[in-house]
């Protein structure tokens, strides 16, 4: 086993521990936790036996295991972008609602609506 494989296994093992702890403490739902553990499990197997990805790739009609990993990574990154975009969009909308509501709450609506018009030449009011 190469030093890189050892480092990878330590990192993946740490992530497994983190996910398990998160599920146990209720910070992560069980379905999401299960998906993460499956992904990490596949990563651990691929780290211990890199040839296993090639075998799986061939079954799927892809010649090399590295190609399979690349395709999966591309899909995962795209999905990640989409999820982040949708969350960002929602947060922006929520921020807009808050800012708009605050603007109305802080409006000096007790001011008379028929305040005198400003001087036409200067465009400035005397207030």
């Amino acid at each position: 086993m190469s030093p890189f494989q050892i480092v990878l296994l330590v990192v993946l093992g740490g992530m497994v521990a983190f996910i398990v702890q998160a599920v146990v403490r209720g910070r992560l739902g069980r379905p999401a936790g299960a998906i993460w553990l499956i992904v990490l499990g596949v990563g651990i197997i691929a780290s211990i036996d890199p040839n296993s990805t090639t075998a799986l790739a061939r079954r799927l009609g892809i010649s090399r295991g590295t190609d399979l990993i690349l395709y999966v990574l591309v899909l995962a990154v795209l999905q990640g972008f989409l999820i982040f975009y949708l969350r960002l969009r929602r947060v922006r909308r929520e921020l807009t609602i808050l800012v708009r509501r605050l603007a109305i709450l802080e409006a000096p609506s007790n001011r008379p609506s028929d305040a005198p018009a400003p001087d036409a030449a200067t465009g400035r009011s005397e207030a």
Binding site: T96, A103, I104, S109, A115, A117, D119, G123, R124, S125
Partner: protein, 244 residues
Amino acid sequence: MSAANHQTGLSAPTDLDPEIAAGTWVIIPVYNEATVISDVIGSIRTVFPNVVAIDDGSTDGSWDQVRRSASHPLRHLVNRGQGAALQTGTDYALRQGAARIAHFDADGQHRLEDLCRMVEVVASGECDIALGNRFAGDVSQVPPARRVLLRAAVLFHRIASGIELHDVHNGLRVLSRRAAERMEITADRMAHASEIIDLVARSGLPVQEIPVTIRYSEYSRAKGQRWTGGFRIMFHYLIARILG
């Protein structure tokens, strides 16, 4: 007789029925317009007493000008875009009992007499929504590049919204209370103009395009949309249509 502002060139006939003028609340979204906004608001107030100016998180001191000159100054603490500012102003004006809502750009490119004519049309009950159309009259003032961009936008909306309008990105609009209540702008940024066209199409209310003149000053040209902005608007609009 007309009221005129020497700095912005805004002028308007003052024979609009004061009651109609008082029932029309003019909404002006403001973002970094400190050099012109006082004059623009001041000119409008010579005819319309209710001017709701929303400073949209400006960083150039526009808020001080808005606070001094608008009859109803509102402030977004964070910049949320023209669409959000228009909706804030509309919500506020409707709560205050507005009979009509007018949208007016802060850079002084619209003419007050055009606004007055549009208000008269809506107040007379001829339509619920009056939209400014810069292509109905003299188009020589419209820069050629802007003309091509706006024509492309018209074509795009004819396909996307199924509505046959001739100037879909004109910021001068007048809505009856009924129309304003039916429209909720959710697009924060510049895609709101496209969203408004969609809302107009869906409202089923009578619409009229009114010939207007846009004054393209150095200032308003510098603030206007560019080609890249047009593509960004289209992208945001399509995303909003797909994702809801």
